[in-house]
Amino acid sequence: MKRLLGVALGILTAIGGFVDIGDLVTNAVVGSRFGMSLAWVVLVGVVGICLFANMSGRVAAVSGRATFEVIRERLGPRAGLANLGASFLINVMTVTAEIGGIALALQLASGVAYILWVPFALLAVWLVVWRVKFSIMENVTGLVGLSLVVFAVALFLLKPDWGALAGQAFSPSVPAQEGAGVYWYYAIALFGAAMTPYEVFFFSSGAVEERWKIKDLAQSRLNVLLGFPLGGLLSIAIAGCAAVVLLPAGISVTSLSQVALPVAQAGGQLALAVLILGVVAATFGAALETTLSSGYTLAQFFGWSWGKFRRPAQAARFHVSMIVVLLAGVAVLATGVDPILVTEYSVVFSAIALPLTYLPILIVANDPQYMGKHVNNRAVNIAGVIYLFVILVASLAAIPLMIATGAGA
């Protein structure tokens, strides 16, 4: 039982990757335009993130080194800085979007204009980062975020034609009204979101925060194997709801309220309330994950003292950098930019950050100086190399596809 309660880190990490505000909308856009024909990408992404998050958790538990320390050590300062720059920009953009997302969800609940909720969201996120214990933070946001399961419940209540949905999912094809370029652009966007690098930064640093050791390796594996598939399931359920309700009605998704439409239709006011609670928790969790990740990456690259297990005074640069990131995010929101659009452009930076993150993890997970006898086994290495190749291809294709399709427009 204690083991099952100890999977909050995996769940919170997965929430940031699969159902943060950008993904909530992207998943619904995908469902409303492509039906279930991109569900396979989520599956591929889930397997990939499970593979590498488990590796990064194992490196952290065995050697005590979090992922960005490994990146700096193995890639050196130049390639390490390129990764830091790209990853940090992704983090800042996502922090910005999530603070906006919390405010949007609260607007949906209250009717009070979104911009008025922004300072409140900022303060709440900072207070948690500043004062709340890591274990309390992950348990509360992880568990409340689970109320997004309402999407899966709604899908059942909608009584869809399961055969048709399964047909779209298992024999995927590009819908007639969409171009192949757009289809593949969204495929890469979904894959990039599933494998977004801040998940491994957060997961491995969280393993250090929780002081995982070799005896906790089973715990780490359980976190990975429950958290990420659950995230993927939510992601597919959101697309499924959109495919059942929005696709036939010809509604194109541009805002959070359209994402909520199928759930309201299936379950009424109560389901809507659960949904809003889930969205607030998920965006809040993703905001925490990305704020902390920006502190973790900077501190680990430069060798600063970091961690929520220390008093803020014992990790001064870590806390100052997170305050700066939060203020920068709010400054961007103050310009009136649509927070959901902000995350769309993180695909560009993912193209740089993904290979430069997963290659050093794979190499160090094979290094006996770090891992002793817990180096990767052959099957994990074969899968890791295949995924590295897929990541490389997706990275090379991402920017040309984005330009050619006008970011999927």
Binding site: S63, G64, R65, E69, R72, E73, G76, P77, R78, G80, L81, W130, R131, V132, K133, F134, A299, Q300, F301, F302, G303, W304, S305, W306, K308, F309, R310, R311, P312, A313, Q314, A316, R317, H319, V320, Q369, Y370
Partner: protein, 139 residues
């Protein structure tokens, strides 16, 4: 560069193996995390200072090999990335004699707070973090 001819030694001899710990600087030292005596991260190994040889001067046969005098950190990281060289006065040195061990991390035998390498940390602690309520409370 590329048009210059390269010659290749024909035969490789088995290397003599020194009795103690062998460290390849780039592999085992450079860019590793430094922890103080209490396990608190201090900084990273950004460069390494050697006792010799004098640049561009002929090394007489039988000269004793140079030793590592200090691990360097601070602005020298920027020059490793972008080129150039910081003035010697701006280098932050961690003398080799305070290094207690080299593994996946470099451990030091002193406290971070007693070192020049952590002045930014102390400045931000005293001028920013300590002034925010709750900054020095246990999490």
């Amino acid at each position: 560069m590329s048009e210059r001819k390269r010659v290749q030694p024909r035969q490789l001899h088995a290397a003599p193996s020194p009795a103690g710990l062998v460290l390849d600087a780039q592999l085992h030292l450079l860019d590793r995390q430094m922890l103080d005596v209490d396990g608190v991260p201090v900084t990273t190994v950004d460069d390494i200072e050697l006792s010799g040889p004098e640049p561009n001067e002929e090394i007489p046969e039988g000269t004793a090999p140079p030793q590592i005098t200090a691990l360097l950190t601070g602005p020298v990281l920027g020059t490793r990335i972008f080129g150039g060289r910081p003035p010697s006065s701006r280098l932050i040195r961690i003398p080799w004699k305070v290094v207690a061990g080299v593994d996946t991390v470099v451990t030091l035998g002193v406290r971070a707070d007693s070192m020049d390498a952590s002045w930014v940390e102390r400045w931000l602690r005293n001028h920013v973090i300590a002034r925010i309520p709750g900054g020095s409370h246990e999490p």
